[in-house]
Amino acid sequence: MTSTQYRVIGSRPVRHDGADKVTGKAIYTADTKLPGMLAGFVLRSPHAHAKVVSIDTSEAEATPGVHAVVTGKDFPNVENKMADLGEGSVNLAYLSSNCMAQQKVLYRGHAVAAVAATDVHIAEAAAKKIKVEYEVLDSVTWVLDAMKEDAPLLHDDLVTDSMGDKAENPSNVPVHLHFEKGDAAKAFEEADVIVEREFKTATVHQGYIEPHAVVADYNEDGRLRIWTATQGSFTARQQTAEVLQIPLGNVLVTPCEIGGGFGGKITVYLEPTAAILSKKSGRPVRITMTRADVFEASGPTPGSFMRVKIGAKNDGTMIAGEAWLAYDAGAYPGGMIGPGCMCVFSCYDIEHAVVDGYDVCLNKPKTSAYRAPGATQVAFATEQLVDELAAKLGMCELEIRQKNAVKEGSRRVDGPVYPPIGLEECLQAVQESDHWNTPLEGPNRGRGIAAGFWFGCGLKSSAACTVNSDGTINLLEGSTDIGGSRTSIAMQLAEVLGLEADDINPMVGDTDTAGYTDVTGGSRVTFATGMAAYEAGRDLQQQMKTLAADLWDCSADEITVGEDGAFTGAGKTVGFKELATELFQAGEHLVGRATVSPECPTNGFGAQIADIEVDPETGKVTVLRYTTIQDAGKAIHPSYVEGQLQGGTVQGIGWALNEEYFYKDDDTMANASFLDYRMPTMLDVPMIDTIIVETGNPDHPYGVRGVGETPIVPPPAALANAIFNATDTRMTELPMSPPKLWKAMQSKQTSE
């Protein structure tokens, strides 16, 4: 598959939205202005956990300039019903009360009321006049504390579901997962070496630059129009309709350009509130979050506690694995524990393994997806243990990974057997890389490697292409474009039709115009929406064959379409554009369409190499060199693949070294700003080198695998391994920030 020569695929055309983005013309949600539009302001809980005794909005409502005030009372009652959101599902009652608190606030930042006024300052001043009487309750923000029997309970009616068995008494643990293969206990007895450790990771945020924003316009006729920054317009439509209990078809969601999401812009936060404010005031309403709101009230990714154990034979074969994982769910059930359990041993062919996972509610914002959600935490644990195993066995850390790497036919602990995958090829690429083969010299320096995995999903996508009279194409699809997907989708259509990328004019449609398309998430867009575009192209070709047969007076079966998209039949060969023009002149105009819903994961594997230097006096880590290697299946637009690899890696470096939700004694966040929530700046990371491996995915016409998520998985582990090699200190807690690393090095020195 990889040997195929493509014309468009693998080239690097300028992205279709490039000019708009660099000239500032692209329209983001906060740029949307409607006549008579009001500004909304959301009043949020100052407490981590409290009963809402009463809310008095009278003074706010009487403030000049105020047009509407909403509280939980204005939200319809929704029962405990699960709604499928494509990538995961959600309990509507929880979704609704996360948008606007009902009887209780469960984290600082939880919305309790909102005001719409002629400007945001009036709205804010009025919101501050709302009198909320709270009865403050005990709170809990550490996962193991929240699991204790006497922990403050977030939900009185929540009982643990343990693989279908319901517990009797309420707790903060909605779900206990258990996966097993083989006989782990016995295998540990047979192991020659065993490594085991406990690990902790802090809550971290996606840190997208654009805060959540929405404009809602509720019409007299019951039609609701929404402009929003979302990763999925159709899921935003569904969630909004369900929370408001209005017919799905009454809601139109227009996805605006989006300034990053990384999984954090799938759940709705502001849409229902803006809609109700609009309904009450009869005017369009815009709400934008502040950065503090984003940190405190959107969806970060779980903090975790993990205990992981691996056993191996003297020849380096890993034979036994055991993991006990507890992840924050945040205020409501439904965290990332599932993928955590599935990913903990996903890179290694371990015959016997047992995994227990707990989803734990606590007084933090409800967690959300973040690039390979749940996988980075477990990789931090497992990939360090693999290094320790190698050291105990006197093996090279790369060799032990190569020896145990999963391949076609390996079975994961949660059941699935891998189709052809590319981990071995990625590790081979490590071995052959310039980075790996360049010795790292100098004091306080170390190199570390780690592998990573993310499923990559298929889900539903649609594409429609209208052929213009000159043979160019307007491509309509429904995937909000976060990483250049318009172009990578258009390129697949161009390839199949024998056109150039700029013959295609891609457009991300709203929910009234585009065919149903699931979220931009799960590394699925270039794979699945690309596949839909490919199929739409095939549909066009099929129609054109039939029409050309009439025109050329031959049978459609006689007409063939070449690799270059040209049609051959009745003794002639005609290119796509030429035939399209000819057909148009003959009175035929063409629309191709396709819907796809591939069910197979695309299985993205990667490996990374990190060189670092530690300042022994301060514990500060400098990343000297970094290489990210990933199996892309087939890189449609290599620059965008490289961009995904670099971006994911940098986010992983931030997660590893400095990022954390820092909680005060009262369980409120101390650092809800980009000043003190320390994401890496351009001065904190070197240029990330990339190596794209292409093993070809048999489930996609061009062999594409999703690439967006895997790159964030290895960095904390690779850096921890590098830090160990530089300092002889094992860091089992994230972030490995200067005070923590310094302290760990100190403790090690004094204990020696």
Partner: protein, 284 residues
């Protein structure tokens, strides 16, 4: 409003009391007003006043630095950046280019943040603050200027006009260094400014060390400074001074670091800034 003279400013301040706020570069005050951390009825721009926006150096009196002179003027100045190494170091790391082209040293001092980057440098360089008010002018040593986080000695009607920083002879050198977890966009976890004057035999004749972010106000490390006098500038001497400096640090634990870590950093940074200051003195 933007008065043309110091006396006009004094008049406005006297009239409005703390409902009037001065605006130099505005990089603190505009943010504080917008975030509701401070409130004002009148904002007085002082950048139209020549005394406050100019600076001059002479070999006898040293540097007279107008309170509103923006940071870049110092680190971009070929002569001053050499003479006042610590000030060049600190002005070069206050925010990025955009901030440095507005933010002033005077504003940094008046804002009185315990972690302000220029204050330990000013302390080390023995600067004095020249203050104008309803009852005329007075001078205050920089180490006595701040009285608590966000508070200073200025009384009703008073403003900072300039900073007087002694002339730097040959054999003088200074340096400022802060520790931050990233390489940009952070508030000092600890900041240290050090100044030394070397005797002809190469030993340390005079020294002064200023510390930031380890107490409610920036501090002078007196015992540490005194311990250097008459000593050879060696690593051991610097480390010993670092240990003494640590003794006066009373930092808090917060998201930027624990008290233990901050205290430790004092020792590290005293050593590092003294090393640089001596190198600069030796090469000047």
């Amino acid at each position: 409003m933007a008065p043309q003279s110091v006396s006009e400013v004094v008049a406005v301040l006297s009239e409005h009391g703390d409902r009037a706020k001065l605006l130099a570069g505005g990089t603190d005050i505009i943010v504080q007003l917008r975030e509701g951390l401070r409130e004002a009825d009148v904002v007085v721009d002082i950048k139209k006043i020549a005394e406050v926006t100019s600076f001059k150096y002479c070999d006898e009196n040293g540097l007279s630095l107008g309170a509103a002179v923006a940071c870049y003027n110092l680190y971009e100045h070929p002569q001053l950046s050499k003479l006042y190494g610590a000030l060049a170091d600190s002005t070069h790391i206050i925010g990025g280019w955009q901030i440095q082209s507005r933010a002033s040293v005077g504003g940094n001092l008046c804002n009185a943040s315990p972690a302000a980057d220029s204050i330990p440098a000013l302390i080390a360089l023995n600067a004095t603050a020249v203050i104008a008010g309803p009852s005329g002018e007075r001078s205050v040593a920089v180490e006595e200027f701040c009285t608590g986080p966000g508070r200073n000695v200025l009384e009703n009607g008073e403003l900072l006009v300039s900073l007087q920083i002694p002339a730097q002879g040959a054999n003088c050198g200074s340096a400022y260094e802060r520790f931050i977890p990233r390489n940009e966009m952070d508030i000092a976890v600890v900041g240290v400014g050090s100044w030394v004057k070397l005797a002809d035999d190469g030993t340390i004749a005079e020294a002064k060390i200023g510390l930031g972010a380890v107490a409610a106000t920036p501090l002078v490390a007196e015992a540490a400074s005194a311990s250097l006098i008459g000593k050879e500038p060696t690593e051991e001497t610097f480390a010993a001074a670092g240990e003494l400096a640590k003794q006066i640090a009373t930092p808090i634990s917060d998201m930027r670091g624990t008290d233990e870590y901050r205290t430790h950093l004092v020792g590290v940074l005293v050593k590092r800034t003294l090393t640089t200051a001596v190198e600069r003195a030796q090469s000047s």
